[in-house]
Symmetry: C2
Subunit: 135 residues, 2 copies
Amino acid sequence: MSQIKKVNHIAIVVENIENALEFWQGQLGLTLDHIEDVPSQASKVAFLPVGEGEVELVEPTDPESGLAKYLEKRGEGMHHLCFQVDDIEAMLDLLKEKDVRLINESPVDLPGRRMAFIHPKAANGVLIELYEIIE
Amino acid sequence: MSQIKKVNHIAIVVENIENALEFWQGQLGLTLDHIEDVPSQASKVAFLPVGEGEVELVEPTDPESGLAKYLEKRGEGMHHLCFQVDDIEAMLDLLKEKDVRLINESPVDLPGRRMAFIHPKAANGVLIELYEIIE
């Protein structure tokens, strides 16, 4: 029985959100819900709902951040995949039991959600974020 | 009004599906629906349903294919993002009207679906697949 309920979002790292919206909103036709500054992640994020999840366009706001360095090295593209779980502590315990390499051993609390990253070396090069939504 | 209904799947290119399943199925806990040979795409694909969509693990079966070369150059990781539309011809017409660079100008017919790729240069480095499901 999977703990994972759905894909919460796919995050795409971009140089500039306004420019990127010309494609994602203007050409592809997705709806922009809102743009948010996320200082704790050194980024600005555009949220575009699709079905039960979202596409997130993420622009680094600090050139020294890991995200900015990733962008510089790899270029624009998909950055991480976020799965929503009901109980992030239980999920992290399960992964730790199975010796899965984690970036966050404990959940990070953000407004409205708790999150943790699995290390991409554990997941075929995919940076996986886990989200528990706090109602 | 968006033509895009949902994320159909996120495709992850891997060296070896059996090894990759140790994480995605054995550790992360996703359910494996089935594994399919897709000779037209020179690949073998594992389908793991998540919510209303799927994670697909894609292993190249021909070392000369574009996918195998992508894997060699970039390593394992997210390869493409597939959005489901109701009418792929209408969607492609709309994108052509807006001068969006496409890999497939017309839909490619596969069993159960019609598909086309948007060029990653049009989409902030993301290879986007469009799917129309044929019932």
